[in-house]
């Protein structure tokens, strides 16, 4: 009987077109859109070369420090080139600024640089910082040279070689005193999380499948349910074979998503593909149990049940960062208990810990176990609700 019901559940599920659209095609469409829209974001976060203008007057050309520094910073040979410089007169510069083709311009007035920007912004902040750095280096050189000269004078040497002092001080400023070591994790890409929430959504959407399967066998939902219920078969057998069928359909959907994202969209899931598959299977189980739970404890028509399921799933996905990753972080930071109970978060957090923490699997296993407990509790409650149900009238 188990396999008989299994076979027909499988058939009815696969032939339900809207259902197949939402569980199979919709995630694929979303994956395609994500891939198109996010493919460029990561590159944009890095620094671009900034277009600026410099007022080309005699004061600029006479000032060696500024002139040389900006020459180096805008030189084509310099790998760490920051600026692309236009040397123009004052009028042209303000025209360029208004047209938006430069981020700002620099003018030397009384040996002090003055910056003119249209608005505040990051490019502008960088220009300001770089100019400040040059100005401060200039002041360091001045201070040190004065000190050196003072030393020479106090030691009684009045025959001062200014050239060599200047060179010595400049050499001193060129020495690199900075030792920084970057220990950040290399996996900082944002877009992967979007795909993870998409997998989480697909897993939880599977709940519609199990809910449909449950509805089919409930006497108060359909005529077929009535017939199934009066048949001399254990409820357990019916329920579990229907659930098993919907689980299989869901796994087919998930594997389609994985195949599509890996081979067509070339998404790199990293070395942990085995763990990722395990997590998505657990996630599907959670989705399945959520669908079963809502299908069995609510006594309402099919549309209302679907509404409740979709609303719950979407709200869970929203909290787990589907529509903006900051949301998950805000919840994690302020009310962590919510995401500890939210299956969507368990799935995305599991993926996140795999991706970001790599070898340290504690957080991953915590999420897997949470998903298992979540599914077990919901299935047990549904089972208690469904068994020995009697109807006085339908």
């Amino acid at each position: 009987m188990f396999w008989h019901n299994f076979k027909y559940s499988l058939k009815t599920l696969f032939k339900n077109k809207p259902l197949i659209f939402w569980t199979f095609a919709f995630p694929l469409i979303m994956a395609t859109l994500f891939n198109m829209a996010f493919s460029n974001i990561e590159n944009q976060e890095k620094m671009d070369i900034i277009d600026i203008a410099i007022i080309n007057n005699s004061e600029w050309n006479d000032n060696e420090i500024y002139k040389n520094s900006f020459d180096v910073l805008s030189s084509d040979d310099n790998e760490e080139r920051i600026f692309n410089i236009d040397y123009v007169n004052a009028q042209k510069a303000s025209e360029l600024l208004e047209a938006g083709s430069i981020a700002g311009y620099i003018e030397l007035i009384d040996e002090e640089p003055v910056l003119t920007f249209n608005t505040n912004g990051l490019d502008q902040t960088i220009i300001k910082l770089v100019t400040e750095e040059i100005r401060q280096t200039e002041s360091v050189i001045k201070n040190l040279s004065e000190e050196e000269i003072q030393k020479e004078i106090t030691s009684g040497n009045y025959n001062i070689d200014y050239e060599s002092i200047h060179n010595k001080v400049v050499e001193l400023t060129k020495e690199d005193n900075v030792r920084l070591k970057d220990i950040s994790n290399s996996n900082l890409s944002y877009t992967m999380i979007e795909f993870y929430t998409l997998i989480a959504m697909t897993c939880l959407y599977g709940g519609i499948l199990s809910m449909t399967a449950i509805n089919e066998s409930l006497p108060n939902m359909s005529n077929k349910g009535k017939r199934i219920s009066i048949s001399p078969t254990k409820k357990r057998t019916i329920i579990f074979s229907s659930l098993f069928a919907s689980f299989i359909v869901q796994l087919v959907g998930l594997s389609l998503l994985f195949i599509y994202t890996i081979f067509a969209l070339k998404i790199n899931y990293g070395n942990n593909i085995g763990f990722i598959i395990l997590l998505s299977i657990m996630g599907s189980l959670a989705g399945l149990s959520l669908g079963t739970f809502i299908g069995s404890i609510f006594k309402a028509n099919e549309n209302t049940k679907t509404g409740i399921l979709i609303a719950t799933t979407m709200f869970g996905c929203f909290l787990s960062g589907m529509m903006g990753i900051t949301m998950k972080y805000i919840v994690d930071k302020n009310i962590p208990i919510i995401n500890k109970l939210n299956p969507a978060s368990m799935i995305t957090d599991g993926f996140y810990s795999l991706y970001y923490y790599g070898d340290n699997l504690d957080r991953y296993w915590f999420n897997i176990i949470s998903l298992l407990i979540f599914s077990a509790i919901l299935i047990i409650i549904s089972y208690i609700f469904l068994r020995r149900q009697k109807y006085d009238s339908i």
Binding site: K46, E112, N120, L172, V178
Partner: protein, 382 residues
């Protein structure tokens, strides 16, 4: 009037959908406009950082921390490696600085101690790194000739306070304009989804075979019937548009009362008309009620993703933007982007905006013609 009444009746049934998409708009509108760390908001030029100090807080260490914190926003998080890593990943902080034990003494002894950092490698992180490097560099140079710690700190601060004078020419309230553009671009999704979904559902109720047969044999002229239906649809669209405009006044504020606000409203009004014509076309094409939900989401999500309603246009790859040219949403969002940086409101600077609006109107006309052709073909029932 009977047609109109029926329209309202069906609309009332579908009110939850309108409420759902409006709530989505509001939630995202508010949450994205109020957080400073989001991508589109380049105005916040102070990077967010976190400092882990393993040294005693005095001398050079304290001075370094003071200098960095004066020029950045130090974010308040728990001092716990996992929390710090999470904060970095979710872009809550751009840069983390770990000051090692005994930094102060080692530095004064000339050991040039190493500082560990964690970096997102984005703008904010690079800015912080520049600040940090500069401090260490200046301090390192002076340390070679100054032995006394207090004198050294004085000298460093004296040098580092040499800042540069900055003039800002624009009088634009870029922050509000950013908000308004973001709101209206995002609204394109809600407008499209709400209009197409509801209008399709209503039209499909009118197009049910039994009801259509009854309408056809009734004494009402079918032209009149269609006209009232069209009018009712545009009424609904107008109400929806007004709702979103009112919300924008609340969320964005003062700038909406200026000529900019007027342009945003005009632009979104024309887009709403276009969305209504799209809805009519889709409604005349689809007969299966079950399919409506899917198709609407594909159209609304697809055009919003491709045209930059969710991910800002400047971050989209060029190839995607080229494809987006065939969608009316592109021209709508493009106008919002232009408005964001528009310096002077006069006929010449507004030309590209009017051109975009004209293109959207052309799209609407094409959609109307197409839906007329389709519905004419479908009029006969066997």
């Amino acid at each position: 009037m009977i047609v109109f009444k029926t329209f309202l009746k069906v609309l009332r049934k579908n009110l939850p959908i309108v409420i759902l998409y409006t709530t989505i708009l509001l939630v995202f509108g508010i949450s994205n406009m109020s957080t400073s760390e989001n991508n589109m908001n380049f105005v916040a030029s102070k990077p967010n950082i976190y400092i882990v100090n393993n040294d005693k807080s005095d001398g050079i260490t304290k001075n370094l921390i003071d200098y960095i914190s004066n020029n950045t926003n130090v974010i308040n998080i728990e001092n716990n490696e996992e929390k710090i890593n999470d904060a970095l990943f979710y872009r809550d902080v751009n840069y983390v600085i770990y000051i090692p034990k005994n930094y102060n003494n080692d530095f004064m002894a000339g050991k040039n101690p190493e500082i560990k950092i964690k970096s997102l490698n984005d703008y904010g992180a690079n800015l912080t790194e520049m600040l940090l490097e500069r401090y260490i560099q200046v301090a390192g140079i002076y340390r070679k000739s100054i032995i006394d710690e207090n004198e050294l700190i004085l000298k460093i601060n004296d040098t580092l306070k040499n800042d540069v004078k900055v003039n800002i020419t624009s009088k634009l309230d870029t922050n509000s304009l950013d908000k308004a553009s973001y709101y209206y671009s995002f609204a394109s999704y809600s407008i499209l989804a709400c209009l197409i979904l509801v209008i399709c559902l209503i039209l499909s109720s009118f197009n049910e075979e039994k009801i259509r047969k009854r309408t056809i044999i009734s004494s009402t002229n079918y032209k009149k019937h269609n006209r009232i239906l069209l009018l009712a649809n545009f009424c609904y669209a107008f109400i929806l548009w007004s709702l979103y405009v009112i919300v924008s006044f609340i969320l964005v504020g003062k700038i909406m009362f200026s000529s900019y606000g007027l342009l945003y409203m005009l632009n979104s009004f024309i887009f709403t008309i276009c969305a209504t014509t799209i809805a009519l076309l889709v409604g005349s094409l689809i007969t299966n009620k079950g399919a409506i939900n899917g198709i609407v989401n594909v159209i609304a999500l697809g055009s919003s993703f491709l045209c930059g309603a969710f991910v800002p246009m400047e971050l989209l790859p060029d190839s995607i933007l080229k494809i987006a040219h065939i969608l009316p949403t592109y021209y709508f969002i493009k106008t919002n982007e232009i408005l964001k940086t528009l310096e002077i409101v006069e006929f010449n600077s507004l030309k590209p905006i009017f051109l975009n609006m004209l293109i959207i109107i052309c799209f609407s006309i094409i959609f109307i013609i197409l839906s007329n052709i389709v519905s004419k073909k479908k009029r006969k029932i066997a």
